[in-house]
């Protein structure tokens, strides 16, 4: 099976540890991962803000880049949601049946990381070790658009040493919503305030999710409050192993995984 990594522009640029962790986990499981360098962005920022026309070339680039693969994996529920639910709409706006056909071929093969592991590769125990108190936020697009259900939690429960604590009101949005966080900053802050309160109520030291955009939002608020809670993408917890874990927890957010 040819697996391609869609790192997503946001992770590629801002959170490279996450796609690196995806590579680590998949290679540990014996798979080869390819990174087609032509990839850029799924167009989510543009589509969700109303700039569908600007997204047309991005959708075309995406389908061209990933046409030859059996499975395309992305460590972001919202980017996968964009590809699977909205690329066909953009092709319609473009009025391009060729593009629509290409989207219909590629989009169903795009998986969120936990979907690839559980559904395609059939694993829940990826051999990770992470001896920390963790709570999990099921981001809106993973939960309601992709319906990943308890897949991420099944993966986390199989991690050795983990102390997994349920997050109260977990399904409620953190208030990120892309440009919503800027356009409706006041409402967004009111929402993240409640999310932060629930995270702190768990006493967890790590907040985990499958989308770094939501984590950047909640993490930004936690950091402002000096809450003493770190944010970590699911892939990075799954990539942690016994000798490496002790190292990893001491480095700051901007350092690469060793």
């Amino acid at each position: 099976m040819r697996i391609a990594l869609f790192a997503t522009c946001f992770n590629d640029t801002m959170f490279p540890d996450t796609p690196r962790a995806v590579v680590t986990v998949l290679e540990r499981l014996g798979h080869t991962v390819e990174f087609p360098v032509e990839q850029t962005c799924c167009g989510q920022l543009h589509v969700n803000t109303g700039y569908q026309r600007e997204a047309i070339p991005l959708v075309r680039l995406f389908t061209d880049t990933f046409a030859g693969y059996d499975a395309i994996v992305a460590p972001s529920g919202s980017c996968v949601g964009m590809v699977r639910e909205y690329h066909s709409r953009v092709a319609e706006v473009a009025g391009d049946p060729g593009l629509a056909a290409a989207v219909a071929r590629v989009a169903p093969r795009v998986y969120e990381f936990s979907e690839l592991l559980v559904d395609v590769l059939g694993v829940t125990d990826v051999g990770a070790y992470f001896p920390h108190r963790v709570t999990y936020h099921p981001t809106c697009h993973s939960l309601r658009m992709l319906k990943v259900g308890d897949r991420p939690l099944r993966l986390l429960r199989a991690v050795r040493g983990i102390d997994l604590i349920e997050l109260p009101a977990a399904a409620e949005c953190c208030g990120f919503g892309g440009t919503f966080a800027l356009k409706n900053a006041d409402v967004s802050v009111a929402m993240v305030g409640d999310k932060v309160r629930h995270v702190r109520d768990t006493g967890a030291e790590v907040l985990c999710a499958g989308d770094n955009s939501c984590l950047m939002h909640i993490g930004g608020a936690l950091s402002r409050l000096r809450a003493g809670v770190r944010t970590l993408h699911l892939a990075e917890i799954l990539a942690a192993t016994e000798p490496a874990a002790a190292d990893h927890v001491q480095v700051s957010d901007v350092e690469p995984i060793r």
Binding site: D12, Q39, V47, N184, V187
Partner: protein, 481 residues
């Protein structure tokens, strides 16, 4: 749509004010949490809930596909049963028809059952101008009317008020327009309801004209259906001599049997009850029983414009249950007034811009009044994909602004699209960001200039890493893909 909301500022500004109202925040958080959990319980009881939703969606879509046929059939059946059907293109025409009908009876007051359609047309305002007093008889609607207020919720228009506020409104206002509230009125639900009951009783017994909306209009039989909880609807629909029902054209359902689906979906989604206490169904007039004159006013008011939009038209499936409001994290914090329309919350954000257009600041901002979390779609009994319509309407807002001097946002979006158009351009940008990131000490950024200050006012921002993923890939994996 109604004029009373015009002049509402764009959603972000209106929301900012609402967010500072601690009483409103407390009232809403409590009320929406209560209805949410009631709904979850009664919906959870039904193993076939998803099938019911699919059936509701399919029925409404069938209606919308053949709306012309069903409406003509409805007109024939209502007429054959002794009713009169009137067609109104817009709010002004609907109001004019109703005012003329009331005038023809010689009456100067009417009793009203809660109706979104007449809220939408601001019928009460039109009646007042014509010298006709319209008395709202739904408890929450009465609170809004007595408080010279605007509704803030589809089902519970006074959801933004708590009992203490309601008591004050009753004490101050009831006496001015009818039977006063007792001076020792306590802020107890039972006592408040009793005061409203006494106040309204006189009006019910005196009124010669009743005005209602309808939840459903059955094409096959010409029957109209009103579901309610308080019994005020039953009074308004049966006691007066003349009944005028103002109904949006999308409220038609094909057959009587289709009510089976909707009368299961609506109460469970709406009040969180298995069945609502009162369901009134009537067909034309029945000699010697109930109103002897019945008028049905069918209102378009922007609905056919929405119908012409393949993505937007699903909003016309709405049965006004308000489940989407109760689960919306934005609505829960801002309340309904910030939406500048009688239709607040997620459904308002997709319906108002379709009915009113996207010219005013508030209407342009409504499609953006959502984080696209999808909680509304998940509960909607007729499966309206509200996030999909929001995204679609955002594109309409953006496209309508194109052609002039591009806004800062448009320029930013265009340059982002250019950068993402080729991976080599993205790589240059990443290198620049990585260099920029070195200016910061490792950790987080606490302050950024406008517009990013909107972010950093309350949230730290991450520092771009020195090495992007793709740079690491190339460094460690070489040219291998």
């Amino acid at each position: 749509m109604t004029a009373t909301f015009l002049g509402t500022p764009a959603f972000p500004e209106a929301a900012k004010r609402a967010l500072q109202d601690t009483q409103l925040r407390a009232n809403l958080a409590h009320a929406t949490a209560t209805i949410r959990s009631k709904r979850a319980v009664v919906v959870g009881e039904r193993p076939d809930w998803e099938e019911l939703r699919l059936a509701g969606e399919a029925l409404k879509d069938q209606v919308l596909r053949h709306l012309d046929t069903y409406l003509v059939q409805l007109e024939e059946k209502v007429t054959a049963a002794g009713g009169t059907v009137h067609w109104a293109r817009d709010a002004a025409e609907a109001n004019r028809i109703v005012v003329d009908l009331v005038r023809a009876t010689g009456e100067t007051e009417v009793v009203k059952v809660k109706s979104m359609a007449t809220q939408e047309t601001d019928l009460n305002g039109a009646l007042e101008t014509a010298g006709i007093s319209a008395w709202e008889t739904d408890l929450a609607e009465l609170i809004v009317q007595l408080g010279h207020d605007q509704p803030s919720h589809i089902l519970v228009p006074a959801i933004h008020r708590n009992r203490a506020e309601i008591r004050e409104i009753f004490l101050a206002e009831m006496g001015k327009v009818g039977e006063p509230a007792p001076p020792d009125l306590p802020a107890e639900p039972r006592a408040l309801a009793e005061a409203a009951r006494r106040h309204l009783r006189q009006k019910f017994l005196r009124a010669k004209v009743g005005i209602s909306g309808a939840n459903f209009a059955v094409a096959e039989t010409g029957s109209l259906v009103v579901v309610e909880s308080e019994g005020n609807g039953r009074m308004c629909l049966t006691l007066p001599e003349t009944l005028i029902s103002v109904v949006g054209i999308e409220k038609v359902v094909p057959t009587f049997a289709d009510l089976e689906v909707f009368l299961q979906l609506l109460p469970r989604s709406s009040t969180g009850e298995r069945m609502n206490p009162y369901t009134s169904i009537w067909t034309g007039v029945t000699p010697g029983d109930g109103p002897q004159a019945f008028h049905l006013v069918l209102v378009d008011n922007g609905r056919t414009t929405s119908l012409a939009d393949p993505v937007g038209r699903q909003a016309l499936r709405c049965i006004r249950c308000s489940a989407c409001l109760n689960v919306c994290p934005v609505y829960e914090r801002t309340g309904g007034h910030a939406y500048g329309s009688v239709y607040p919350g997620p459904i308002g954000a997709i319906l108002t811009p379709q009915l009113r257009g996207i010219e005013s600041e508030i209407d342009k901002s409504l499609p953006y009044a959502s984080s696209l979390c999808g909680a509304c779609f998940e509960v909607c009994p007729v499966r309206i994909d509200i996030p999909e319509v929001l995204v679609h309407l955002r594109a309409r807002v953006v496209d309508a602004e194109r052609g002039g001097v591009p806004s800062a946002e448009e320029l930013a979006m265009r340059s982002a699209a250019w950068m993402f158009g080729d991976h080599r351009r993205l790589e240059s940008a990443q290198r620049a960001a990585g260099l920029g990131g070195r200016l910061f000490r490792r950790g987080r950024i606490g302050r950024l200039p406008f517009p990013f200050s909107k972010w950093t006012d309350a949230r730290d921002a991450p520092v771009p890493p020195a090495e992007s993923f793709r740079a690491w890939w190339r460094r460690t994996r070489g040219t291998r893909r």
